[in-house]
Symmetry: C2
Amino acid sequence: MLRRVELRHLQVFVAVARAGTVTGAANVLELAPASVSEQVRRLENGLGVTLFDRTPRGMRLTAPGKALLERAQGLLDHADEVRRAVTGRRRRVTVGALEMLAATRLPGVVRRLAERRPDLDVDVRTLNRGQLLAAVADGGVDAALLLDAGMRIGTLGFRPPDGLDFLDVGEVALRLVAAPGGDARTLLVSPPECSIRMAVERMFAADVPRRELTSISTAREWVRQGLGRSLLPDFAVDADLDSGALVTVAPAPEECRAAQGAGGGKSLDASEGTGRSPALALRMVWTRGREAALRDVLYAMSD
Amino acid sequence: MLRRVELRHLQVFVAVARAGTVTGAANVLELAPASVSEQVRRLENGLGVTLFDRTPRGMRLTAPGKALLERAQGLLDHADEVRRAVTGRRRRVTVGALEMLAATRLPGVVRRLAERRPDLDVDVRTLNRGQLLAAVADGGVDAALLLDAGMRIGTLGFRPPDGLDFLDVGEVALRLVAAPGGDARTLLVSPPECSIRMAVERMFAADVPRRELTSISTAREWVRQGLGRSLLPDFAVDADLDSGALVTVAPAPEECRAAQGAGGGKSLDASEGTGRSPALALRMVWTRGREAALRDVLYAMSD
DNA sequence: AGGGGGCGTTCGGGACAACCGTATGCTGAG
DNA sequence: CTCAGCATACGGTTGTCCCGAACGCCCCCT
């Protein structure tokens, strides 16, 4: 019987808990499923606790398993910090953000981190909403900045992977804009995975015609050139509104989606279905239990 | 080449750093010296850093080794805390103290800890000064309460083991007392390892006759019965002084030890050699780097 | 000067853990 | 009822952990 919990076991455990299946964790760890299964069994054996309920669909955390997951993250981070302190190697963090947020908010974040933590290398990845949540959950990025709504993460769309925590650090108003004298009917939208596209789907009825573009910045450019109207975040269009290059327009009441039935999720916000521009939360997301190791990064992102 | 630092390696490393020799660590860990040596080599290999200078007298920490030692303690404590949180096992700490301090101060410490941390089992060990310092250094006790003097640990006697930290939480005045009408010449002293005996040796010239007893409480009892005079801590005799069962006496000037030469250690305090009763620091000692895990215990001890 | 004791390390070997590939039993979907 | 996807049991290989014994080093004591 195993006496000591080893970091290697915790690493495997975390991978299984995040992936939800032994097979998935084995892929991430580049191991055979049999090896992963054995490690988990040894860890449970050593602790004298059952960490997972085995189902034919995967591994579901038990209560002690959840307790371990929240702490294992921090312990592995702590071990990493110790190793860095001894070897003198630099620390490397990866932050992810939506395309527009990466362009507008991340430069400031990186600059603040460079001032406060010169011994820190920051990598940036720009992904869409679903990719960001998945990347935070599986460790591909350490923290992410995205747009969401409501009191719990993932209200906007995509069921949230478990074990994530978040903090809202600002609010982004969405404005329906068009070029003065341009086409004010065609609705220019970004791909379905995009946060703002999700807001569009919640705001407009399904029968309003849409033209799908590859990104928000593309949509903004098309709107500038008078090719349609689009729902865009305030920070992306306020300059154009001030200069008069763009103007806000109102949707026709019949275009707006009816308030959804009682059975579904909670309302996006009070303006849902009324046609008024909704506001989204600027939301910082990270893996629960890693606050200690990410403290400086999270502070820099929330400034 | 080892990729990952494992907790087992750190445990062995800490034992070697504390013992100062591979052989000593092997005894503590109940391993063969060869195994310990191999573990250390693997750890150094995995980190890519030399942790010890090998000498024919033992193992001396290098700079990275010292950096690791201070952090390894905390990491192992963290791992213990995680294991306890998952298994639900109770936490157990051992505190040590000098005999008189265990009698007078520890009951309050234990009571405060029982209130604030009901999930904590406290063991108490009463040891003399040298044993306490050694026990803190090798992990036999988690924290200790003793008497000392000066700005650094061990000024009173015994070379301090490395890697200890301390905080003075009070002051203890030593009073030379006797029973009214009793023998006021015979100097009743405790064994040489005792903190107060060390103070006696610093205060009185070597040719003043001493009678050695087994403990401070024994000495107090003998003084009460008029069998001599003794240098005792205030908290042990103040009640008897108030009741008149004991009185303070002054040593004759010729009994006092001359101020020591310039080559030696620092002064005990300003009163050294003057015959005035010196004051000792009530000192809390623990292993550096374990503050996080011992925080509640240290707070309770310093109240 | 010479040997003894204490030190860390090396060496060969045994037990066990961490991997692998494969095979098996399970359950829900089609 | 088959099939896909899942976790796991089974043999086998590699590497880690541990041992006892032998070695080389240095200091100290005679």
